[in-house]
């Protein structure tokens, strides 16, 4: 339990992706079977428990110490699992510290009442607060240490090393504690078989096109174009009676979309965009967001927010793996398939024929009325491209629409993490609004922490330090007046109404596009400019 606890502890405070990979990979290399397999399952979210509710944990600790002292402790720490892990009194003569696998197996074989007794006995036996904290994270469901399932799989793949796509393709036929996976990664046995129905196929992704360089080298005749829809890229599989819906990282989200899966025709694996479609029209992204990340599926919500797939590609048809076929051939089969099964739950992402790059650029800049207005841009796919895992350079490009731009004023800066911990690198910016008396004031509209070079970061950091007004822990407020302050040209992809922000608006993907050292803050944009953009989006 100690090594696993130390891993979680470090992950929870580590920001850098590479450092996280090192921590997980080193753990998986050194921990014994089956501990490491259970740990991997917990990290990928394939193993969760909700064996203990907060009320039970609280009762258990209050039975062991003065409740007033516990209340003060909890108030001070602010997090129940952490407070309990710290105050849990040592019990002399407690049992031997349990291994991670003993805990997992103990939880799996226990009824709810039994599990609670076991959890208390383990808390008694674990010597370090860190271990008790890890146990409480494990039994209350969801580790939440800032590690994606994909990164955990990448760390496992690094043991081989093998490409992470191989691990991903295998994933859904593997079972925790994955001893066969580790045996293969360490060269001790054959690769486990991936021939199980409705498994996840690693997804093919596109490079962003570099307009200045790429078009000169590319022949329009080699490429197909279609809209890049603004939803969630998914893979839908229906094989051997098994239906599954995966995100592009292989997370199984089938349970959240039973309405969609019920409508999925058999013997097929489709790549597409998950959207909310009402009366044949794509609803705003915010509508899809309401259906994501829900544990309990709400019948009313399914009716008001019907999910659908707009199909891009066909990966499997009956017994045939079509991924090695050229895109042109896959597309033909996809069209035939959708034609046979077309309905409100599945439609086709239409091709956009074009002769020249200029013509396509015009289409992208000025999409026809209807759904394309809300598209993120265009996708370019070589007619002869096979469906390859990962992000190969050349066969597929994404060509996003030009972002929205506004000029906003830097208001607050926060210190970054990891490499950036000595820099003020997270910026809250605002635009001008007016109070009823006509007095102009800045209202925050968003936050961005990328889009600038290291050199620019140094310059902004210096500006923040030289123009600090107040400090609040890691945050500084910065001078922002009509004639003194710093203006950012902020780029963003979309805008929606939000009650979480004072301004009532929330941006999608905001980033610093340019630093306007030359521009007086008084000339930055007003809130009305954002309202106008929003109105355009809402009427589109």
């Amino acid at each position: 339990m100690r090594a696993f606890a130390e891993l979680l502890d470090r992950l929870s405070l580590t920001a850098s992706r590479n450092a996280k990979l090192t921590l997980v990979r080193d753990y998986l290399r050194s921990a014994p079977d089956p501990d490491r397999g259970w740990a991997l399952a917990a990290l990928t979210g394939d193993l969760t428990f909700d064996a203990a509710k907060p009320a039970f944990i609280r009762k258990a600790v209050e039975a062991r110490m003065d409740p007033q002292l516990f209340r003060w402790s909890y108030d001070y720490v602010g997090d129940l699992a952490e407070a309990v892990s710290l105050v849990w009194p040592a019990r002399p003569g407690a049992n031997r510290e349990p291994d991670l696998s003993q805990v997992i197996e103990g939880l799996r074989s226990a009824s709810r009442a039994e599990a609670q007794g076991r959890i208390e006995a383990w808390l008694d036996a674990l010597r370090q607060p860190r271990e008790r904290w890890a146990l409480l994270k494990l039994v209350t469901g969801g580790l939440r240490v800032g590690l994606s399932a994909r990164l955990a799989k990448q760390a496992a793949a690094d043991i081989g090393p093998v490409p992470v796509s191989e691990v991903e393709e295998l994933w859904h036929c593997l079972h925790a504690p994955y001893e066969d996976l580790f045996a293969w990664l360490e060269g001790r046995s054959e690769k486990p078989t991936s021939e199980n129905p409705a498994r996840f196929r690693p997804v093919m992704l596109a490079q962003a096109i570099d307009e200045a360089v790429d078009f000169a080298k590319l022949d329009p005749a080699d490429y197909a174009a279609e809209w890049k829809w603004d939803g969630i890229r998914i893979q839908a599989a229906h094989e051997g009676g098994v239906r599954r819906l995966y995100t592009r990282t292989g997370d199984d989200i089938s349970r959240t979309f039973p309405d969609l899966l019920d409508a999925l025709p058999p013997d097929v694996v489709i790549d597409g965009e998950l959207l909310v479609i009402r009366d044949g029209r794509v609803a705003p992204f915010a509508d899809l967001q309401q259906r994501l990340n829900r544990k309990v599926v709400d019948a009313k919500l399914m009716a008001t927010h019907p999910a659908a797939i707009r199909a891009y590609d066909l990966l499997q048809e009956g017994a045939e793996d079509t991924r090695t076929l050229p895109f042109a051939e896959r597309r033909k089969r996809l069209e035939a398939f959708v034609a046979r099964h077309s309905g409100p739950r599945i439609d086709l992402s239409p091709m956009q024929p074009f002769e020249t790059w200029e013509a396509l650029a015009k289409l992208r800049a000025d999409p026809p009325p209807g759904d394309p207005q809300a598209a993120e841009g265009l996708m370019l796919k070589r007619w002869d491209s096979a469906y390859e895992a990962g992000r190969p350079k050349g066969p597929w490009f994404k060509w996003k629409r030009d972002p929205h731009l506004i000029d906003a004023v830097l208001m607050y800066a926060q210190r970054g993490h990891g490499k950036r911990s000595s820099y003020y690198s997270d910026y809250t910016f605002g635009v001008w609004a007016s109070d009823p008396a006509g007095q102009r004031f800045l209202t925050p509209v968003g936050k961005a922490y990328f889009g600038f070079t290291d050199e620019e970061l140094r310059q902004i950091d210096k500006f923040v330090r030289d123009n600090t007004i107040e400090r609040f822990g890691p945050v500084r407020s910065v001078r922002a007046e009509a004639h003194a302050g710093l203006v950012f040209e902020v780029a963003f992809e979309g805008l929606q109404r939000s009650t979480r922000h004072k301004s009532g608006l929330a941006m999608r993907f905001p980033r610093i596009n340019r630093i306007r050292w030359d521009k007086p803050p008084g000339e930055a944009d007003e809130l009305e400019a954002l309202e106008r953009i929003l109105a355009r989006i809402e009427t589109a």
Partner: protein, 337 residues
Amino acid sequence: MIRPQDLLCPKPEGLYCAPGGFYIDPVRPVDRAVITHGHADHARAGHGAVLATAETLDIMAERYGRDFTGSAQAGAYGETVTRGPVEVTLVPAGHVLGSAQAVVRWKGLTMVVSGDYKRRRDPTCPPFEPVPCDVFISEATFGLPVFRHPDDGEEVARLLRSVAQFPERSHIVGAYALGKAQRIIRLLREAGWDAPIYVHGALERLNALYTRRGVDLGPLEPATTAGRKADFAGAIVIAPPSAMQDRWSRRFPDPVSAFASGWMQIRARARQRGVELPLVISDHADWDELTATVAELRPGELWITHGREEALARWAELHGVPARALALVGYEDEGDD
């Protein structure tokens, strides 16, 4: 019958001993002061006369210059000094080099001012000595049951594991300049780390003082920019806590920021400071040490000077020891700069 408050009572300047005419750890300049240890919030410059251990006087002179007080008197551990009718004895507190409890006796009444203290072993100073007393006046910096400092050897082992795991990065350990920095260095030496340890300029004078006083810190190098960034790959650097988020830290390759402090027990504190590797190493007594000390001494009364007084007071009351919070102001939390 004399009352404890006739011997020692809290005043805005600090704890005042009326019959002896002196203050203990006064936060403002006074005529006569007894100083328990050299941390700046307890040991201030400008008093008329100071009684402290020779090590503490040495530390004060290093920080404030030779003329930090009108006159100085060194009291050896265990030696009794009189101030009028009052006897004062300095007894080891185990906090930092030279740290002492002030044992004050008058008319058969014994009161012990713990100063800051801890009960566990520290390779840079002698251990706390319990003195039976009528009133124990305790600190309570970590006076909440959430503060349970782990074994410091295990914390240093975690640091060394991280150094091995990330050989291309440097590890900057934030540590209080007096006491914590030298203790970390000693613990690293005991754990077998004999490579040079790089130190921030702000630590150099106190390191030299510790070395003069017989604490072997091994090879130390200034953490200057003379070399290339890569020279610090795999290095351990000790710096005052404030330097870690300072521009100073940019000379190191992708540094892992570590921080050695009792506050690092609380995850949110580590997160706020951007600490990637919190090391729970403190020079103060944790909850278990505070309560065990009260249980061991079983004083007639417990007074609490500063920290989270209410929890320790409650614990003492629940265990039959009358307790009183003095709420003295001016003493800072450890490493809370």
